[in-house]
């Protein structure tokens, strides 16, 4: 098992022992090739993403410039735009210059406003990430205690009522998409009760409704996972022994059970963060939130291809980075993780 990975350097010193071991384990992973394999997978995925993003422009049927400028645009303008974009060069050299441009932070310029796409991304990305991260934090903070509570109440099949209510409520909450939550929340709390602004980003108050809309489904999903995991741990012998020791409930559940459920909960939390970033597109649209999502929808409807291309690339890269980080975190946190074999 983990015996072979036990770091030889883990000494008896109390200070730094934990950090030392964590580092040792991480290094063990490097030796076992886990980090390397993950890194290779990440680089390959990123390469595929870049090619796909490049191909997007070329897969558009007909001439994207003509399609964007409309049939009434003068032919000289179309030709000039095509030359500026390098669309007449051989396809391979186009791909190379596209990739090298992306790595230099040059994503092209908007067909419509002439703004550099890089600036659009730089100004809007923080708003999107802020929303997604806050929603994830809120979801975890609510879901973990909720799931544990439900598990403790329904252990060994007691309180059937709680179990039925919990599974039906979370099932329904998962099934409703985030844009419907946004619309419902706007209708009730912004238009009806006027407690929160209906749209735009202006101060902390404006974050409440978008975060709520984004967080409800993930909360239900994490709470479910957390309940199942907690139930499993409650059946283990170490819990029996801890109960035989007559530990107070808080100590039993938070010190003994919680750490053992966190791995699976965090895995799902990480995967949901990726889904949440995509879900934020719809929520941003409802709340006219000045993030990347609103902009990418506008650019697709207006056929502003460079902006759509750049923003979709950024979204894809974020998803890849999040997945990589979750994998690495789990590899370090859980010494017995099965991940390291894949």
């Amino acid at each position: 098992m983990a015996e072979s990975l036990r770091p030889s350097a883990a000494g008896p010193s109390a200070e730094g022992g934990r950090a030392g071991r964590a580092l040792g384990r991480a290094l063990g992973r490097v030796r076992s090739g886990f980090v390397l394999r993950r890194a290779v997978r990440f680089v390959v995925s990123l390469g595929v993403l870049l090619v796909a993003s490049f191909a997007m422009m070329h897969l558009i049927p007909g001439d994207p410039v003509r399609a964007s400028l409309g049939p009434a645009a003068p032919a000289e303008l179309v030709t000039a735009r095509r030359a500026a974009l390098g669309l007449d060069e051989p396809i391979l050299s186009q791909l190379l210059s596209y990739v090298s441009n992306v790595f230099r932070g040059d994503f092209g310029t908007s067909f419509l406003s002439g703004e550099p796409v890089r600036e659009i991304i730089a100004s809007r990305l923080p708003n999107t990430l802020g929303l997604a991260l806050l929603a994830t934090v809120v979801a975890l903070l609510v879901a973990v205690p909720l799931g544990m509570w439900a598990a403790i109440r329904t252990e060994n099949g007691r309180n059937r009522g709680t179990e039925v209510t919990f599974t039906s409520a979370t099932g329904a909450a998962i099934a409703v998409p985030e844009f419907l939550y946004s619309i419902a929340l706007v209708t009730v709390f912004a238009i009806g009760l006027r407690w929160f602004p209906p749209a735009g980003k202006a101060g902390p108050v404006s974050y409440v409704l978008p975060i709520l809309s984004l967080a409800i489904s993930p909360t239900a999903m994490i709470a479910r996972i957390c309940r199942v995991e907690t139930l499993r741990e409650l059946g283990m012998d170490y819990v029996r022994l801890a109960r035989a020791k007559r530990l107070p409930a808080a100590r039993l559940y938070f010190r003994h059970v919680l750490p053992n459920t966190l791995t699976a909960t965090l895995t799902v939390g990480g995967m949901l963060l990726a889904a949440l970033i995509a879900g934020s597109v719809l929520v941003e649209y409802v709340f006219a939130w000045p993030g990347l999502g609103l902009r990418v929808v506008e650019s697709i409807t207006q056929k502003d291809y460079p902006v759509a291309q750049g923003v979709i690339l950024v979204y894809g890269a974020i998803v890849l980075v999040v997945n990589l980080l979750v994998d690495l975190l789990l590899g370090v946190l859980d010494p017995t993780s099965k991940l390291k074999e894949t």
Partner: protein, 608 residues
């Protein structure tokens, strides 16, 4: 699908999906004309008697349009799901038929795509295919595919080991044929199940695309498009957005609930229904005066589970200080539940009743809650079978020991930790200070069991309950643990209740032996009499089943024919009668546990 559980969620899911299907078929036929009728006199109205959900910019009734739009929403979702399912199943089956290198490439691609949000893929195809239903459907289909591919791959791998696949391979059937003829038909059910969930997901994703204005374009309309139109007017007339929103939400919930219920029904099909009903037989007897010296005194202990399952029936047991009592019996005889009942750890929904349950001279059931916790927490030590499972993998060994002292004895953290190290040293763990700062997985199996025993020594144990403490360990380690247990008992004067199915170990360690069969004590005797003085036929058979130096190794081991009755079907009379050579008509009546010789009691009519 034949066994849909009648839960509220299952019924609600089925009804909602049925409603959606009926709506998709009948909606356009009934309200089609109404939905298209332009009324310039009723443009952009709110709620009214004629138009419950208002009208749109051409004066068309929105309620009728919502009812009609179901067909397009559902149809597009189905097309997207079918595209995704087909592509996914092919992609998932490929690794089984491709050469290894190509197979790994496909697997890797699928793994990378599964984590990719569908909406991003849909936006990608929307850019290429242009705005409209086609781009959205293709994109959602592409997003559905990786899930199916992953599922097919996993399922195919699980079937690939089956005998019929191996036989087909041996007969030289081509890989592709094995896949299509043998593997796919056997994994069809979970795939069809996944279809329900994927359909719900596709419906919501398509609604999302249309709502963003990237999906269905006018003059066509689905629920998402109606929501797009309604959302623009939400400040003035919120009702116009709520109709389509409710339709989308109900469809999403319906498919999700149905998918959940189908999945659960499929996984439940394998497990049989509840156990047969029986009767609880509480056996009241003379209690007598409590024994003031006994560490543990149990009278008429009965553990019952719903449905008349009674694994422990009227058990009585007294243990004196310093005494090691072995509780022996086959698995299912109720010995572990007896231990749990004494420790107050019987899992819900089990119910414990007893005429008397005294630990260290106090009745556990009469003590106030706080005092009971302290008594059980410090005076009772428990050791379980699997030391890996008994230690919390996430916490350091020393901390798990120390918390007994901090919680029950009010010790400071430093003092408690020092005591933990001392206790670890006491059970002869080398380098106790280092070990205390390690996690359980860094200790060997024997060391872990020592640590669990040390945990019991943190308090002042009066009773140690060891439930098969050596079964999971190898033989040399077993001896050390047994020796340690005996030393601890000698030293602390604590009593030990040692539970095992291994009568050899019991004979070696214990002073007194209690034999359990089908929830009852059948014999209680001093260990010296075990080898030749046992009176109950069951005990004698257990002893006879042990090989010793004189056993003729060429003969098969003596074993007892028949099987112990399960806790739900214990007969009223002697439970061993069915397997007993001496059984007579009298055995239909329950034999009482009566004195046989000094310190020796037996429950058998035929005991001489």
């Amino acid at each position: 699908m034949r066994h849909l559980p009648r839960t509220p969620a299952g019924i609600a899911g089925t009804l909602l999906v049925a409603l959606m299907v009926i709506l998709a078929i009948a909606g356009p036929l009934i309200w089609g004309a109404e939905a298209e009728r332009i009324d310039s006199a009723a443009i952009l109205q709110g709620t009214s008697a004629a138009h419950p959900l208002g009208t749109d910019n051409l004066g068309r009734d929105i309620l009728a349009r919502v009812l009609v739009a179901g067909r397009l929403s559902l149809a597009l979702a189905m097309i997207a799901t079918l595209i995704g399912a087909t592509a996914g199943v092919i992609l998932g089956a490929l690794p089984s038929v491709l050469p290894r290198r190509a197979a790994r490439l496909v697997t890797g691609t699928v793994n990378a795509l599964v984590a990719f949000p569908g909406l991003l893929l849909a936006m990608f195809t929307a850019v290429i295919a242009g705005l409209g239903a086609r781009g959205a459907v293709l994109g959602i289909g592409a997003a559905v595919a990786p899930g199916f591919a992953r599922l097919t791959q996993t399922l195919a791998a699980s079937v690939a080991g089956a005998d019929y696949v191996a036989v087909a391979r041996m007969l030289g059937v081509s890989r592709w044929r094995v896949m299509t003829r043998h593997v796919l038909p056997n994994i069809a059910e979970p795939l069809i199940l996944h279809l329900t969930q994927a359909l719900g997901g596709a419906l919501l994703a398509l609604a999302g695309m249309s709502f963003l204005g990237l999906g269905v374009q006018p003059p066509s309309f689905d629920w998402g498009r109606l929501l797009f139109d309604g959302f623009a007017r939400i400040y003035a007339t919120p009702a116009v957005a709520l109709g389509p929103a409710a339709a989308i939400a109900l469809a999403g919930i319906g498919f999700n609930l149905l998918g959940d219920v189908l999945a659960r029904a499929a996984s439940r099909r394998a497990t049989p229904a509840g156990a047969a009903a029986g009767r609880a037989v509480p056996e009241a007897g003379e209690l007598g005066e409590p024994d003031p010296d006994a560490v543990l005194e149990v009278r008429d202990l009965t553990v019952t589970f719903p449905g008349g399952v009674t694994p422990v029936r009227g058990l009585s047991l007294t243990i004196a200080p310093g005494e090691i009592v072995g509780l022996v019996g086959e698995s299912g005889s109720g010995k572990s539940l007896t231990a749990s009942a004494i420790g107050g750890l019987v899992p819900y929904p089990g119910e414990v009743s007893a005429g008397r349950l005294r630990l260290c001279g106090a009745d556990v059931r009469e003590l106030p809650e706080a005092e009971c916790r302290r008594l059980l927490g410090t005076s009772l030590a428990m050791v379980f079978q699997d030391p890996m499972a008994a230690l919390n993998p996430a916490l350091k060994v020393g901390g798990q020991l120390a918390e007994v002292a901090t919680v029950h004895q009010g010790a400071s953290r430093a003092d408690a930790f020092a005591r933990a190290v001392d206790r670890l040293e006491h059970v002869r763990i080398p380098e106790p200070a280092t070990r205390a700062r390690q996690h359980p997985h860094e200790l060997s199996g024997g060391m872990r069991q020592r640590a669990v025993i040390a945990m019991g020594l943190m308090g002042a144990p009066r009773l140690i309950i060891a439930d098969e403490p050596t079964t999971a360990l190898d033989v040399t380690v077993q001896r050390e643990i047994l020796r340690l247990l005996r030393e601890v008992t000698d030293e602390t004067g604590a009593a030990t209740l040692f539970i095992s199915h291994d009568i050899a170990v019991i004979g070696e360690l214990c002073h007194r032996v209690v034999v359990m069969y089908a929830g009852r004590v059948v014999e209680e005797l001093p260990v010296e009499e075990l080898a030749s003085g046992a009176a109950h036929p069951y005990t004698r058979a257990l002893v006879a089943s042990l090989p010793d130096m004189e056993t003729d190794r060429s003969l098969p081991l003596a074993s007892i024919p028949g099987r112990q009755p399960s806790p739900a079907e214990v007969p009223d009379g002697c439970a061993f009668a069915d397997r007993c050579e001496l059984a007579s008509a009298k055995c239909a009546e329950l034999p009482p546990l009566i004195p046989y010789r000094a310190g020796h009691r037996v429950a058998c009519w035929e005991a001489k």
